[in-house]
Symmetry: C2
Subunit: 407 residues, 2 copies
């Protein structure tokens, strides 16, 4: 008999202490039946990662990345062993594995490795012995048996990749929120849980500031069409299903409002309008390790133009220095910056077939006297950079205007 | 050019915190030269093991042994990664490895696995790239890639086994004492560091209560004739060399005095003196997992005899229950016990060729009004069980009588 397989991923806060580990164990065994196998991916206990990092930066100013992975991977090894013990304590058979033990092979980019292959034989063997399988998330192993970690959101990635390798029915991402919301409930108390969202919409929501899942895992899930179920580890409520396009979804124009306050804006004025200048600017900035997000350059009517872009606030100083140097080199004018910005975005795959969505957004902001400093659009989103002090108001009025509070 | 290899093992107190890890790193690089490679074996940071055990017993009353090994092995993985970072910080190339990564293959006896094979190719490769190799002690991996631990003193065992596999010149065991002493300096302030001791003597010293090294590692070192150097991680002083028989050693009769206060004595009176009775008793006791140390049975003049033996104090209750049950079954008489005992031993390979050593020991005890309750002897040791309250006095007077305070 071919049993269904469910892959469940539990984050660090779900296994933060002994009591929570026991609660997760209870939940896990409730999913294990004669017709369903359970494969669990677990993150490091909350705080463990910080503690290990503190030790590393205590012994070395700039710890080797290979050794960092050797060190950090112990966090997940600890939590998966403990969770296996807790499940066994409930009278179910369980077995824990490191990334290396379940054949999660990666490339050699330590601290942000990419999975290149999964050999699921060991897991299948354990499942066919009716064991609940607990896998350490976030980690893999190179061809040379060196331990690697997968970077931010790595445990989600482990779960999605295992779901693919095992052709699981569904991949459940357990977290400390009930699912994906139409906007951040801390900003707008009318925010509502989204029952169904498309991968692309979720990608925009995630990259635009919704903190639940990392874009990388969603991209992989999209690529292999793995249905994700983001839900709370504290309740049995259904959360948000993240799926391919789906007929039930028709008619919804805007799925949600995202807001990102973590970036700062840099503008180079009077940039000579000739080929290769933008390339020069952003090559220099990428060289110092700063990742640029939104970039806006408008048409120029003179032989000069202005280029604006956003960078993480933490990287502002580094980015500014480079930008000023490069501006001088290319004969541009003043470099300005603004830390007090926010990017508010409306996201929804429906908007491509509904005209007037952008106009409605801009109109709504105008009615509320919110000035738009930059505009960018994608197939399924429209983003406006505005003054940060007005961003909560912008989110609330847009949420209302696009009727997101209604079911 | 074939370089010498030195294997160094650092215990948990030597790497207890960031400062000590840095100090150990300094020491390690001082041994790395163009003509000498360094392979380091490291234990878990002091306290880590306790913390992990607390977590395990928090989630399960009786944690799975496989999962315990999965869990506990992270302690050494953490310390070896940190130590490698610290060494690299000093400008030397270093690389850390788990037991699995350096091919320490063991059997499947989780929590007390035996090394069956070491494939040192990975270490040799790293050494030939001029790297300082840092290996997580205490752990190995089964044929199926399951993580195992080697039990008490496991890191010493890793060091000795690697020294063998790499045909190292010497295996240095770093600890928080200066070496092996003629007796416990806390008992007798005249205790003196022994510069040179034989494996067999050290075995007696270790099994008789000197806590520096576990007997198992010494046995392995003896088997493969690996010279051990037990020394302090806080000084550059030479410690104690543990070697095969050696001409420099002649003339020393008694090498040291050991004292063990951790055991309790059980006596079965009126045991029927017929074949198979002793076997029956100790089979039952071993079945409940209690390890018996000294056993004494004297000749009997009637058809009955008394059998006395010692067990760890922690196992006394369990051992007593079993002994009482078995005594009833075999028709023996009363079972008595005494927690207030100590075993004091004189150790020295020279004593086999010097008559009168035993007599001198008993005489010394008698002169000090110390009653001897049990006597056992081996080729190179004589042990007396006495009242624990008199054991310090016994150690001090024997230490003096056998002139151990002199160099």
């Amino acid at each position: 008999m071919n049993k269904d397989i469910v892959v469940q991923k539990y984050g660090g806060s779900s296994v933060a202490n002994i009591e929570r580990i026991k609660a997760v164990a209870q939940r896990i065994v409730s999913y294990k039946t004669n017709r369903q196998d359970v494969v669990v991916v677990v993150s490091a206990m909350a705080d463990t990662t910080d503690e290990l990092e503190q030790l590393a930066f205590g012994v070395a100013q700039n710890p080797s990345e290979r050794e960092m992975d050797m060190l950090m991977s112990t966090g997940e090894q600890i939590s998966c062993a403990l969770l296996a013990m807790a499940v066994k304590e409930l009278g179910f058979d369980a077995i824990s594995f490191t990334g290396a033990q379940v054949g999660i092979k990666t490339d050699k980019s330590y601290t942000k490795a990419k999975i290149v292959k999964i050999d699921a034989r060991r897991i299948r063997k354990a499942l066919s012995a009716n064991q609940i399988v607990i896998v350490a998330g976030f980690q893999g192993v190179t061809h040379d048996d060196d331990i690697t970690t997968l970077g931010r959101g790595g445990s989600d990635l482990t779960a999605v990749a295992l779901a693919k390798a095992l052709t699981a029915k569904v991949c459940e991402i357990y977290t400390d929120v009930e699912g994906i919301y139409t906007t951040d409930p801390r900003i707008d108390k009318n925010a509502r849980k989204i029952p169904l969202i498309m991968f692309d919409e979720m990608l925009e929501m995630a990259s635009l500031g919704a903190q639940v899942m990392q874009p990388r895992s969603i991209e992989v899930a999209k690529k292999f069409n793995i249905t994700l179920h983001v839900r709370s580890s504290y309740s049995k409520e259904e959360g948000t299903m993240i799926v391919k396009e789906n007929e039930k979804m028709e008619g919804v124009v805007v799925r949600g409002i995202a807001c990102n306050k973590s970036e700062a804006k840099i503008t180079i004025c009077g940039v000579p309008d000739k080929p290769g200048v933008a390339a020069k600017i952003f090559t220099e900035i990428s060289k110092v390790g700063v990742s640029v997000d939104t970039i806006v350059q408008n048409v120029s009517h003179t032989r000069q133009t202005d280029i604006s872009f956003t960078v993480p606030k933490a990287s502002l100083n580094k980015a500014l220095q480079t930008t000023q140097a490069v501006a001088k080199k290319i004969g541009a004018g003043e470099v300005m910056y603004d830390k007090n910005i926010a990017r508010v975005s409306i996201v929804g795959s429906g908007m491509r077939s509904y005209p007037g969505v952008a106009a409605k957004m801009f109109q709504t902001l105008a009615e509320n006297k919110i000035n738009i400093e930059m505009i960018t659009t994608s197939e399924i989103s429209i983003s406006c950079v505005i003054n940060q002090s007005l961003s909560d108001k912008a989110v609330q009025t847009l949420h209302k205007k696009f009727n997101l509070q209604k079911v």
